[in-house]
């Protein structure tokens, strides 16, 4: 029966049912970008991958999350230079906009490739 070692929620669990995991899968697991892997951060990056920019409120509505949660996770992505934050005023109302940086897009594409490699390795 397929079993995997328990791991924190934010991590991809390592399978113990495969005696010798395929090299690609092993490599992918080791190189997995933990920053993007967290669900809300993955949502932020995925949404920005198909939109040139989104406001804080748009992302909040789209990802059905809270102000605090979105702020914390967006800050982590910003610190990693995966997203850029532009602050401005719309009249007197502050407006915060996010966009994906080149580094963020590259990291997202790499993450996608890792996920695909993991699936492919197990199927082969």
């Amino acid at each position: 029966m397929a079993r995997a070692v328990a791991s924190p929620k934010s991590q991809v669990p390592r399978p113990s049912h495969v005696a010798s995991p395929a090299p690609a899968a092993k490599k992918s697991t080791l190189e997995l970008d933990r920053l993007i892997h967290e669900r809300l951060r993955l949502g932020i990056v995925s949404a920005l991958a198909v939109n040139p920019r989104l406001t804080f409120n748009d992302l909040k509505r789209l990802l059905k999350t809270t102000d605090g949660n979105l702020s914390v996770h967006a800050r982590k992505l910003e610190e990693a230079d995966y997203i850029a934050v532009d602050k401005s005023f719309d009249g007197r109302v502050p407006r915060t906009e996010f966009r994906l940086t080149a580094a963020g897009r590259k990291a997202f594409e790499k993450y996608l490739a890792h996920m695909e490699a993991l699936i492919k390795a197990v199927r082969e």
Binding site: A2, R3, A4, V5, A6, S7, V12, P13, R14, P15, H17, A25, T29, H37, R39, L42, G43, S46, A47, L48, A49, V50, N51, P52, R53, L54, T55, N57, D58, R61, L62, L63, L112, H114, M115, E116, L118, I119, A121, V122, R123
Partner: protein, 195 residues
């Protein structure tokens, strides 16, 4: 304790989550800004051609012709915008959700149009169309950026005002709504949400 998930299943779930988020995000900003501006321009021309509502079939047909031009413009603009974002609109859940919210008020408008015409209320069609189109945009816009449902509410308010105003002003309300609102909100959407 629940058994941990095998790694490949976790990867499949992650990819599914990414796909779903990208589809929802595409649908979220899929309302075409520049398409709205073009639709607004055609409505202004149509209002000039139609003139005030005069209880003739000609007046209704002129606006039907505008609708027949506007629908493909909207579809093409949405498709172009979605393709440019890298995640084409599909027949997936977000598109269905939007259609389910957007289409029923339009169907109601199609049903009410002949009813208004046959009961001598043809000159009141501007109020009916603005109100129901606004309802469609407001309900469909519930899954979109905030400016879209706001546009829908503006259409609805204008429809109410049109009902309360002299019927002869109908074409001005049509021009203000289908022309003006489409152009103003279209520019806002285009500038803020990538076209």
């Amino acid at each position: 304790m629940a058994e941990p998930q095998p790694i490949h299943e976790h990867a499949i779930e992650s990819l599914r989550f990414i796909r779903d988020t990208m589809e929802r995000a595409t649908a979220f900003t899929a309302v075409p800004g520049w398409g709205g501006v073009v639709m607004g321009a055609t409505a202004l021309v149509t209002a000039a051609i139609s003139g005030p509502p005069d209880d003739t079939l000609r007046w209704v047909l002129v606006w039907f012709a505008d609708a027949a031009v506007a629908a493909p413009i909207a579809l093409a603009a949405m498709s172009i915008k979605a393709r440019r974002s890298g995640a084409p609109l599909s027949s997936a859940a977000p598109a269905y959700r939007f259609a389910l919210a957007y289409v029923p008020p339009l169907v109601a408008g199609m049903v009410l149009t002949p009813v208004f015409a046959m009961t001598g209320l043809m000159a009141r069609l501007p109020g009916c169309w603005l109100l129901l189109y606004g309802t469609a945009v407001a309900t469909g816009g519930a899954f979109s950026v905030r400016v879209v449902p706001i546009m829908g509410l503006c259409f609805m308010a204008l429809g109410v005002v049109a009902f309360a105003s002299p019927a002869a002003w109908g074409h001005w309300f049509m021009a203000a709504g289908f022309g003006g609102f489409h152009m103003v909100f279209g520019i806002i959407i285009a500038r803020r949400y990538g076209g």
